[in-house]
Symmetry: C2
Subunit: 213 residues, 2 copies
């Protein structure tokens, strides 16, 4: 086919893959980073929620639809991770999966089962790899910004903020170093927490510019 003929060719002249979206929904529970999983009824294997892209739908809408329909999850801001394109990744045929991630509060996981990330192995398809991408991404997001995904109710204390960061990052943080790093990103609410043991802590909220875009 000549260059001109190729350009004028109909889109249907080329075979097209099916396009799916799969989403690693992450949360923090019991001080640990967890991922939400479904169990396939037939194979009993665990996997991430996903769906095929419908005609005329953008990827983020497909993600939202799949999380709502498969898990009862609403109000998520998914982020693209990577396209998984192994030609044999799905036994039904040629399927590309655009992997996404979303971070939600533990009480917003709907019907997904929360598994600590180290336990989320042996998933169907290439979902282990998708989880790994998502974990790397959320850890990068939390490295320098104060709770970018809004896992904490506001206002919060520096200690509870640090504990969320330690859960996401998977390692301990030096309290005062952490405090000095996040203070510029926070507004002191002016009240002081009472009811716990020890010196009452100041309460903070995130400044608007640190909220996840």
């Amino acid at each position: 086919m000549s260059t001109r003929a190729k350009r004028d060719a109909s889109l249907t002249d080329y075979a097209r893959p099916s396009v799916a979206v799969d989403t690693a929904v992450l949360t923090v529970r019991d001080g640990a980073l967890c991922v939400g999983l479904l169990t396939d009824e037939r194979t009993r294997r665990r996997r991430l929620p996903g769906t095929f892209l419908h005609e005329g739908e953008v990827l983020a809408d497909a993600v939202r639809r799949s999380l709502r329909e498969k898990a009862g999850i609403r109000d998520v801001e998914p982020a693209q991770l990577h396209v998984f394109d192994a030609v044999d990744r799905d036994s039904r045929g040629w399927v590309l999966s655009v992997a996404h991630m979303a971070v939600v509060r533990a009480n917003a996981l709907g019907t997904l089962d929360a598994l600590p990330v180290p336990d989320a192995v042996g998933l169907d398809f290439d979902h282990d790899a998708i989880v790994a991408f998502a974990v790397e991404r959320v850890r990068a997001d939390y490295a320098d910004r104060a709770d970018p995904s809004g896992l904490l109710d506001e206002p919060f204390t520096i200690r509870s903020l640090r504990e969320v960061h330690e859960a996401v990052l998977g390692h301990r943080l030096q309290p005062d170093t952490f405090r000095r790093r996040v203070l510029p990103q926070l507004d002191e609410v002016g009240a002081v927490r009472r009811g716990g043991v020890g010196k009452p802590a100041s309460l903070f909220a995130r400044r608007p510019s640190t909220r996840s875009s």
Copy 2:
């Protein structure tokens, strides 16, 4: 359609988009970060090289095929950037584009025209956005690692390494601060450059662990 019926459904029960790949090929020339562009013969608008995905092909192979066929570029390691999925992004129909980037030496751009990144505006489709993604990515790659994409012949001097980094990052670097940061990633070759004005500089090669994976 019941859940069981949906699972057993053929892939062709869902409409599928065309999937394209578009690639921002970046290089450094005359001390500036540049992107390689084609000019559309019909519309005269500039754009990135791209192609539709062929049946059974993985994305990286499609990228390589398109760069070879459209620009005579070989031996590239493309990296995925983002999927562009606006339903009206292409007048021919529903097309998703998986944007990629590749970094090559200036003499490997084939028939692409090299434009300094600030001049690469008003491109067709959403290619301006693709270039912006690619620039952000290459700048992140070059922030802490010594010439990860191998733009320099080896061995090289610290000064020429710094000049490449300044071209990619788009700002000046303090010579000695830069030197101390990269030295742990380099092996001194043991020779000294001669023929230039000034004290002869030592020659270096990158340690294998800093090469781009």
